[in-house]
Protein backbone atom coordinates (compact mmCIF):
# COMPACT_ATOMS: atom_id res chain seq x y z
CA UNK A 1 0.00 0.00 0.00
CA UNK A 2 1.53 3.26 -1.00
CA UNK A 3 1.24 6.44 0.95
CA UNK A 4 -1.71 7.98 -0.98
CA UNK A 5 -3.83 4.88 -0.50
CA UNK A 6 -3.04 4.82 3.17
CA UNK A 7 -4.03 8.44 3.37
CA UNK A 8 -7.32 7.75 1.58
CA UNK A 9 -8.14 4.91 3.96
CA UNK A 10 -7.43 7.18 6.87
CA UNK A 11 -9.73 9.86 5.47
CA UNK A 12 -12.51 7.29 4.93
CA UNK A 13 -12.20 6.12 8.51
CA UNK A 14 -12.21 9.69 9.75
CA UNK A 15 -15.38 10.49 7.78
CA UNK A 16 -17.15 7.46 9.16
CA UNK A 17 -16.28 8.39 12.71
CA UNK A 18 -17.44 11.96 12.13
CA UNK A 19 -20.70 10.99 10.44
CA UNK A 20 -21.81 8.38 12.97
CA UNK A 21 -23.49 10.76 15.40
CA UNK A 22 -24.90 12.69 12.44
CA UNK A 23 -26.67 9.61 11.15
CA UNK A 24 -28.49 9.40 14.44
CA UNK A 25 -29.42 13.06 14.23
CA UNK A 26 -30.61 12.75 10.65
CA UNK A 27 -32.66 9.67 11.46
CA UNK A 28 -34.29 11.53 14.35
CA UNK A 29 -35.04 14.52 12.14
CA UNK A 30 -36.57 12.41 9.41
CA UNK A 31 -38.65 10.61 12.00
CA UNK A 32 -39.98 13.96 13.12
CA UNK A 33 -40.93 14.79 9.57
CA UNK A 34 -42.77 11.48 9.42
CA UNK A 35 -44.62 12.41 12.59
CA UNK A 36 -45.70 15.68 11.04
CA UNK A 37 -46.91 13.78 8.00
CA UNK A 38 -48.94 11.55 10.27
CA UNK A 39 -50.55 14.61 11.81
CA UNK A 40 -51.34 16.12 8.40
CA UNK A 41 -52.92 12.87 7.32
CA UNK A 42 -55.07 12.20 10.35
CA UNK A 43 -55.53 15.75 11.64
CA UNK A 44 -59.29 15.18 11.42
CA UNK A 45 -59.05 12.78 14.36
CA UNK A 46 -57.65 15.47 16.64
CA UNK A 47 -60.13 18.07 15.46
CA UNK A 48 -58.28 19.83 12.64
CA UNK A 49 -60.38 19.68 9.47
CA UNK A 50 -58.83 17.83 6.56
CA UNK A 51 -60.70 18.18 3.26
CA UNK A 52 -59.26 14.92 1.98
CA UNK A 53 -59.94 12.89 5.14
CA UNK A 54 -62.04 10.37 3.25
CA UNK A 55 -59.15 9.59 0.93
CA UNK A 56 -56.69 9.18 3.78
CA UNK A 57 -58.62 6.12 4.93
CA UNK A 58 -57.10 4.07 2.13
CA UNK A 59 -53.69 4.78 3.68
CA UNK A 60 -54.83 3.35 6.99
CA UNK A 61 -53.28 -0.10 6.40
CA UNK A 62 -49.86 1.43 5.74
CA UNK A 63 -49.98 3.99 8.53
CA UNK A 64 -51.14 1.65 11.27
CA UNK A 65 -47.70 0.29 12.06
CA UNK A 66 -46.04 3.70 11.91
CA UNK A 67 -48.69 5.07 14.20
CA UNK A 68 -48.05 2.28 16.65
CA UNK A 69 -44.31 3.09 16.68
CA UNK A 70 -45.15 6.74 17.19
CA UNK A 71 -47.29 6.38 20.29
CA UNK A 72 -44.77 3.97 21.85
CA UNK A 73 -42.01 6.47 21.15
CA UNK A 74 -44.11 9.20 22.74
CA UNK A 75 -44.36 7.11 25.87
CA UNK A 76 -47.95 5.94 25.50
CA UNK A 77 -48.66 2.24 25.90
CA UNK A 78 -51.99 2.40 24.14
CA UNK A 79 -53.17 4.37 21.14
CA UNK A 80 -54.23 7.84 22.36
CA UNK A 81 -56.65 8.39 19.45
CA UNK A 82 -60.00 6.70 19.37
CA UNK A 83 -59.85 7.02 15.56
CA UNK A 84 -56.87 4.69 15.22
CA UNK A 85 -56.65 1.35 16.99
CA UNK A 86 -53.42 -0.47 16.51
CA UNK A 87 -52.91 -2.41 19.72
Amino acid sequence: MNITEKLKALIRYYEEVISLPHRREIAAELREEDDLFLLLLYSEMVGIPNPAYYYTLELYPYMLEKFHDWHLRMGMDKSPLSGIRCC
Binding site: I26, A27, L30, F37, L40, L57, Y60, P61, C86
Partner: protein, 318 residues
Protein backbone atom coordinates in the same frame (compact mmCIF):
# COMPACT_ATOMS: atom_id res chain seq x y z
CA UNK B 1 -77.81 24.13 -29.12
CA UNK B 2 -74.04 24.21 -29.09
CA UNK B 3 -73.64 22.29 -25.83
CA UNK B 4 -75.28 19.20 -27.36
CA UNK B 5 -72.09 18.59 -29.32
CA UNK B 6 -70.06 18.01 -26.14
CA UNK B 7 -69.18 14.55 -24.89
CA UNK B 8 -69.81 15.53 -21.29
CA UNK B 9 -72.61 17.85 -20.28
CA UNK B 10 -73.30 19.21 -16.80
CA UNK B 11 -76.74 20.62 -16.10
CA UNK B 12 -77.05 22.89 -13.07
CA UNK B 13 -79.38 25.49 -11.61
CA UNK B 14 -81.46 26.57 -8.64
CA UNK B 15 -83.81 24.05 -7.06
CA UNK B 16 -87.11 23.58 -8.89
CA UNK B 17 -86.25 25.34 -12.15
CA UNK B 18 -86.35 22.11 -14.16
CA UNK B 19 -82.80 20.76 -14.08
CA UNK B 20 -83.72 17.10 -14.08
CA UNK B 21 -86.30 17.57 -16.82
CA UNK B 22 -83.81 19.49 -18.94
CA UNK B 23 -81.06 16.95 -18.31
CA UNK B 24 -83.39 14.08 -19.20
CA UNK B 25 -84.52 15.87 -22.37
CA UNK B 26 -80.91 16.57 -23.35
CA UNK B 27 -79.95 12.94 -22.74
CA UNK B 28 -82.93 11.73 -24.75
CA UNK B 29 -82.00 13.96 -27.60
CA UNK B 30 -78.41 12.72 -27.56
CA UNK B 31 -79.68 9.15 -27.60
CA UNK B 32 -82.10 9.95 -30.42
CA UNK B 33 -79.19 11.35 -32.44
CA UNK B 34 -77.56 7.95 -32.18
CA UNK B 35 -75.10 8.49 -29.32
CA UNK B 36 -74.93 5.88 -26.61
CA UNK B 37 -75.89 8.11 -23.69
CA UNK B 38 -75.53 7.93 -19.92
CA UNK B 39 -77.62 10.20 -17.74
CA UNK B 40 -76.18 10.54 -14.22
CA UNK B 41 -77.86 12.19 -11.25
CA UNK B 42 -75.50 13.53 -8.58
CA UNK B 43 -78.31 15.12 -6.59
CA UNK B 44 -78.74 13.28 -3.26
CA UNK B 45 -82.48 13.89 -3.74
CA UNK B 46 -82.75 12.01 -7.01
CA UNK B 47 -85.41 12.77 -9.63
CA UNK B 48 -84.26 10.84 -12.68
CA UNK B 49 -85.91 7.59 -11.66
CA UNK B 50 -89.18 9.43 -11.08
CA UNK B 51 -89.03 11.04 -14.51
CA UNK B 52 -88.64 7.67 -16.18
CA UNK B 53 -91.11 6.12 -13.78
CA UNK B 54 -88.85 3.42 -12.42
CA UNK B 55 -86.43 2.65 -9.61
CA UNK B 56 -82.76 2.88 -10.64
CA UNK B 57 -81.15 1.81 -7.37
CA UNK B 58 -77.57 3.02 -7.79
CA UNK B 59 -76.83 0.94 -10.90
CA UNK B 60 -76.52 1.89 -14.56
CA UNK B 61 -79.87 0.91 -16.06
CA UNK B 62 -81.07 1.12 -19.65
CA UNK B 63 -84.25 3.21 -19.62
CA UNK B 64 -84.77 3.59 -23.37
CA UNK B 65 -83.05 2.71 -26.61
CA UNK B 66 -79.42 3.82 -26.24
CA UNK B 67 -80.26 5.79 -23.11
CA UNK B 68 -78.87 4.64 -19.76
CA UNK B 69 -79.44 6.24 -16.39
CA UNK B 70 -77.72 6.16 -13.00
CA UNK B 71 -78.56 7.71 -9.67
CA UNK B 72 -75.39 7.83 -7.59
CA UNK B 73 -76.07 6.45 -4.12
CA UNK B 74 -73.43 7.97 -1.79
CA UNK B 75 -74.17 5.45 0.96
CA UNK B 76 -73.59 2.53 -1.37
CA UNK B 77 -70.37 4.11 -2.69
CA UNK B 78 -69.01 4.78 0.81
CA UNK B 79 -69.81 1.21 1.77
CA UNK B 80 -67.86 -0.11 -1.21
CA UNK B 81 -64.90 2.16 -0.50
CA UNK B 82 -64.68 1.20 3.18
CA UNK B 83 -64.91 -2.43 2.12
CA UNK B 84 -61.82 -2.11 -0.10
CA UNK B 85 -59.96 -0.47 2.79
CA UNK B 86 -60.97 -3.38 5.01
CA UNK B 87 -59.83 -5.89 2.42
CA UNK B 88 -56.46 -4.18 2.16
CA UNK B 89 -56.13 -4.29 5.92
CA UNK B 90 -56.35 -8.05 6.04
CA UNK B 91 -52.86 -9.26 6.64
CA UNK B 92 -51.50 -6.04 8.10
CA UNK B 93 -53.57 -6.27 11.28
CA UNK B 94 -53.52 -9.25 13.55
CA UNK B 95 -56.75 -11.13 13.73
CA UNK B 96 -57.58 -10.08 17.29
CA UNK B 97 -57.56 -6.43 16.32
CA UNK B 98 -59.39 -6.80 13.04
CA UNK B 99 -62.87 -6.53 14.52
CA UNK B 100 -61.93 -3.39 16.43
CA UNK B 101 -60.35 -1.77 13.36
CA UNK B 102 -63.34 -2.63 11.21
CA UNK B 103 -65.67 -1.12 13.76
CA UNK B 104 -63.54 1.99 13.66
CA UNK B 105 -63.71 2.20 9.89
CA UNK B 106 -67.47 1.83 10.00
CA UNK B 107 -67.77 4.97 12.08
CA UNK B 108 -65.79 6.80 9.38
CA UNK B 109 -68.76 6.22 7.08
CA UNK B 110 -70.72 8.72 9.13
CA UNK B 111 -67.90 11.28 9.22
CA UNK B 112 -68.71 14.73 7.84
CA UNK B 113 -67.89 14.94 4.18
CA UNK B 114 -67.96 11.19 3.59
CA UNK B 115 -71.10 11.34 1.46
CA UNK B 116 -69.79 14.22 -0.56
CA UNK B 117 -66.43 12.56 -1.09
CA UNK B 118 -68.11 9.30 -2.10
CA UNK B 119 -70.33 11.11 -4.60
CA UNK B 120 -67.36 12.95 -5.97
CA UNK B 121 -65.34 9.77 -6.17
CA UNK B 122 -68.06 8.10 -8.23
CA UNK B 123 -68.18 11.12 -10.52
CA UNK B 124 -64.43 10.79 -11.00
CA UNK B 125 -64.77 7.08 -11.73
CA UNK B 126 -67.50 7.71 -14.30
CA UNK B 127 -65.52 10.45 -16.01
CA UNK B 128 -62.40 8.29 -16.17
CA UNK B 129 -63.82 4.85 -16.75
CA UNK B 130 -67.24 5.06 -18.40
CA UNK B 131 -66.23 7.43 -21.15
CA UNK B 132 -65.12 4.69 -23.47
CA UNK B 133 -68.49 3.03 -23.20
CA UNK B 134 -70.66 6.08 -23.81
CA UNK B 135 -70.66 8.73 -26.52
CA UNK B 136 -72.42 11.23 -24.29
CA UNK B 137 -72.57 11.61 -20.52
CA UNK B 138 -75.12 14.04 -19.09
CA UNK B 139 -74.95 15.01 -15.41
CA UNK B 140 -78.06 16.15 -13.60
CA UNK B 141 -76.55 17.97 -10.63
CA UNK B 142 -77.90 19.11 -7.28
CA UNK B 143 -78.90 22.75 -6.70
CA UNK B 144 -76.27 25.37 -7.42
CA UNK B 145 -74.23 25.54 -4.21
CA UNK B 146 -73.71 21.81 -4.11
CA UNK B 147 -72.68 21.70 -7.75
CA UNK B 148 -70.13 24.48 -7.44
CA UNK B 149 -68.63 22.67 -4.49
CA UNK B 150 -68.56 19.37 -6.37
CA UNK B 151 -66.91 20.90 -9.41
CA UNK B 152 -64.32 22.74 -7.34
CA UNK B 153 -63.32 19.62 -5.41
CA UNK B 154 -60.72 18.37 -7.91
CA UNK B 155 -58.79 21.59 -7.35
CA UNK B 156 -59.25 21.67 -3.59
CA UNK B 157 -58.40 18.01 -3.00
CA UNK B 158 -55.64 18.20 -5.57
CA UNK B 159 -53.92 21.00 -3.67
CA UNK B 160 -54.18 19.12 -0.39
CA UNK B 161 -52.86 15.87 -1.75
CA UNK B 162 -50.09 17.63 -3.67
CA UNK B 163 -48.98 19.16 -0.38
CA UNK B 164 -48.87 15.75 1.30
CA UNK B 165 -47.08 14.25 -1.66
CA UNK B 166 -44.42 16.92 -1.73
CA UNK B 167 -43.72 16.50 1.96
CA UNK B 168 -43.55 12.76 1.58
CA UNK B 169 -41.28 13.00 -1.42
CA UNK B 170 -38.83 15.27 0.37
CA UNK B 171 -38.61 12.96 3.36
CA UNK B 172 -38.14 9.95 1.13
CA UNK B 173 -35.42 11.67 -0.87
CA UNK B 174 -33.60 12.77 2.24
CA UNK B 175 -33.88 9.32 3.67
CA UNK B 176 -32.52 7.65 0.57
CA UNK B 177 -29.70 10.18 0.12
CA UNK B 178 -28.57 10.41 3.73
CA UNK B 179 -29.32 7.04 5.26
CA UNK B 180 -29.80 4.59 2.43
CA UNK B 181 -26.68 5.21 0.31
CA UNK B 182 -28.77 6.80 -2.41
CA UNK B 183 -30.94 3.73 -2.86
CA UNK B 184 -34.56 4.78 -3.45
CA UNK B 185 -36.98 3.75 -0.70
CA UNK B 186 -40.18 1.88 -1.42
CA UNK B 187 -43.16 3.76 -0.11
CA UNK B 188 -46.67 2.44 -0.67
CA UNK B 189 -48.11 5.58 0.93
CA UNK B 190 -46.50 7.73 -1.71
CA UNK B 191 -47.78 5.47 -4.46
CA UNK B 192 -51.36 5.53 -3.20
CA UNK B 193 -51.34 9.32 -2.88
CA UNK B 194 -49.82 9.61 -6.33
CA UNK B 195 -52.61 7.54 -7.83
CA UNK B 196 -55.21 9.80 -6.16
CA UNK B 197 -53.52 12.90 -7.40
CA UNK B 198 -53.30 11.63 -10.92
CA UNK B 199 -57.03 10.79 -10.93
CA UNK B 200 -57.91 14.28 -9.73
CA UNK B 201 -55.72 16.00 -12.25
CA UNK B 202 -57.09 13.89 -15.09
CA UNK B 203 -60.64 14.83 -14.08
CA UNK B 204 -59.71 18.49 -13.81
CA UNK B 205 -58.32 18.34 -17.30
CA UNK B 206 -61.57 16.87 -18.61
CA UNK B 207 -63.68 19.48 -16.80
CA UNK B 208 -61.56 22.31 -18.16
CA UNK B 209 -61.58 21.03 -21.73
CA UNK B 210 -64.05 23.27 -23.57
CA UNK B 211 -64.18 21.00 -26.56
CA UNK B 212 -65.23 17.93 -24.58
CA UNK B 213 -67.19 19.35 -21.67
CA UNK B 214 -70.13 21.74 -21.61
CA UNK B 215 -71.91 23.42 -18.71
CA UNK B 216 -75.56 24.32 -18.99
CA UNK B 217 -77.50 26.30 -16.43
CA UNK B 218 -81.27 26.13 -16.22
CA UNK B 219 -83.24 29.08 -14.86
CA UNK B 220 -86.71 30.58 -14.92
CA UNK B 221 -87.59 34.12 -15.96
CA UNK B 222 -87.89 35.19 -12.32
CA UNK B 223 -85.83 37.39 -10.05
CA UNK B 224 -84.09 34.90 -7.75
CA UNK B 225 -83.09 32.30 -10.36
CA UNK B 226 -81.53 35.09 -12.45
CA UNK B 227 -79.53 36.39 -9.50
CA UNK B 228 -78.39 32.93 -8.48
CA UNK B 229 -77.42 31.97 -12.02
CA UNK B 230 -75.39 35.14 -12.40
CA UNK B 231 -73.50 34.36 -9.21
CA UNK B 232 -72.97 30.73 -10.16
CA UNK B 233 -71.68 31.54 -13.64
CA UNK B 234 -69.22 33.98 -12.06
CA UNK B 235 -68.08 31.50 -9.42
CA UNK B 236 -67.60 28.65 -11.87
CA UNK B 237 -65.68 31.06 -14.07
CA UNK B 238 -63.22 31.53 -11.22
CA UNK B 239 -62.48 27.82 -11.37
CA UNK B 240 -62.05 28.08 -15.12
CA UNK B 241 -65.38 26.38 -15.88
CA UNK B 242 -67.27 28.30 -18.54
CA UNK B 243 -71.05 28.16 -18.74
CA UNK B 244 -71.85 28.65 -22.40
CA UNK B 245 -75.52 27.73 -22.53
CA UNK B 246 -78.57 28.78 -20.51
CA UNK B 247 -81.97 27.19 -20.71
CA UNK B 248 -84.73 29.58 -19.70
CA UNK B 249 -87.47 27.20 -18.68
CA UNK B 250 -91.18 27.81 -18.04
CA UNK B 251 -91.50 30.88 -20.27
CA UNK B 252 -95.19 31.75 -20.63
CA UNK B 253 -96.25 30.67 -24.13
CA UNK B 254 -97.93 33.14 -26.52
CA UNK B 255 -101.25 31.36 -26.39
CA UNK B 256 -101.62 31.68 -22.62
CA UNK B 257 -104.40 34.25 -22.29
CA UNK B 258 -106.38 36.11 -19.66
CA UNK B 259 -105.89 39.34 -17.76
CA UNK B 260 -103.76 37.73 -15.04
CA UNK B 261 -101.37 36.05 -17.44
CA UNK B 262 -101.10 39.19 -19.56
CA UNK B 263 -99.84 41.06 -16.52
CA UNK B 264 -97.56 38.17 -15.65
CA UNK B 265 -96.16 38.10 -19.17
CA UNK B 266 -95.48 41.84 -19.07
CA UNK B 267 -93.27 41.32 -16.02
CA UNK B 268 -91.71 38.25 -17.53
CA UNK B 269 -90.66 40.27 -20.58
CA UNK B 270 -88.55 42.47 -18.32
CA UNK B 271 -86.86 39.43 -16.83
CA UNK B 272 -86.26 37.91 -20.26
CA UNK B 273 -84.57 41.06 -21.51
CA UNK B 274 -82.64 41.23 -18.25
CA UNK B 275 -81.39 37.68 -18.90
CA UNK B 276 -80.38 38.62 -22.44
CA UNK B 277 -78.60 41.67 -21.05
CA UNK B 278 -76.65 39.89 -18.31
CA UNK B 279 -75.71 36.78 -20.25
CA UNK B 280 -74.46 38.29 -23.50
CA UNK B 281 -71.73 35.68 -23.84
CA UNK B 282 -74.04 32.71 -23.40
CA UNK B 283 -76.35 30.99 -25.77
CA UNK B 284 -79.85 31.46 -24.35
CA UNK B 285 -82.49 28.83 -25.11
CA UNK B 286 -86.11 29.45 -24.22
CA UNK B 287 -88.48 26.65 -23.35
CA UNK B 288 -92.17 27.37 -22.69
CA UNK B 289 -94.26 26.41 -19.71
CA UNK B 290 -96.18 23.31 -20.67
CA UNK B 291 -99.87 22.91 -19.83
CA UNK B 292 -99.05 19.59 -18.12
CA UNK B 293 -96.14 18.02 -16.21
CA UNK B 294 -93.31 16.61 -18.29
CA UNK B 295 -93.83 12.99 -17.42
CA UNK B 296 -93.64 10.88 -20.58
CA UNK B 297 -91.10 10.26 -23.31
CA UNK B 298 -93.33 12.21 -25.72
CA UNK B 299 -93.33 15.18 -23.35
CA UNK B 300 -89.54 15.04 -23.06
CA UNK B 301 -89.25 14.91 -26.80
CA UNK B 302 -91.55 17.91 -27.20
CA UNK B 303 -89.46 19.66 -24.54
CA UNK B 304 -86.19 18.87 -26.31
CA UNK B 305 -87.45 20.29 -29.64
CA UNK B 306 -86.90 23.75 -28.21
CA UNK B 307 -83.19 23.13 -27.86
CA UNK B 308 -82.83 23.91 -31.52
CA UNK B 309 -85.77 26.14 -32.29
CA UNK B 310 -85.63 28.37 -29.24
CA UNK B 311 -83.25 31.26 -28.95
CA UNK B 312 -82.70 34.81 -27.89
CA UNK B 313 -85.53 37.27 -28.41
CA UNK B 314 -87.91 34.69 -29.72
CA UNK B 315 -91.33 34.10 -28.32
CA UNK B 316 -92.35 30.48 -27.81
CA UNK B 317 -95.40 28.35 -28.55
CA UNK B 318 -96.20 24.98 -27.08
Amino acid sequence: MEALEKEIIFVGGKGGVGKSTSAAAIAMRCAAEGHRTLLVSTDPAHNIGDIFGRKLGGRITEVADGLHALEIDPEQETEAYIQTVKDNLKGSVHAGMAAEVNRQLDTAKASPGADEAALFDKLVTILLEERDKFGRIVFDTAPTGHTIRLLSLPELMGVWISGLLEKRKKTNENYSALLNDGEPVEDPIYDVLRERQSRFSRVREILLDNRKTGFIFVLNPERLPILETEKAVGLLGKYGLKVKTLIVNKVLPDEADGEFLRERRRIEQQYLSQIDGIFKKQEVIRVPLFPRDIATFEDLEAFSKYFKAGGRNESVRV
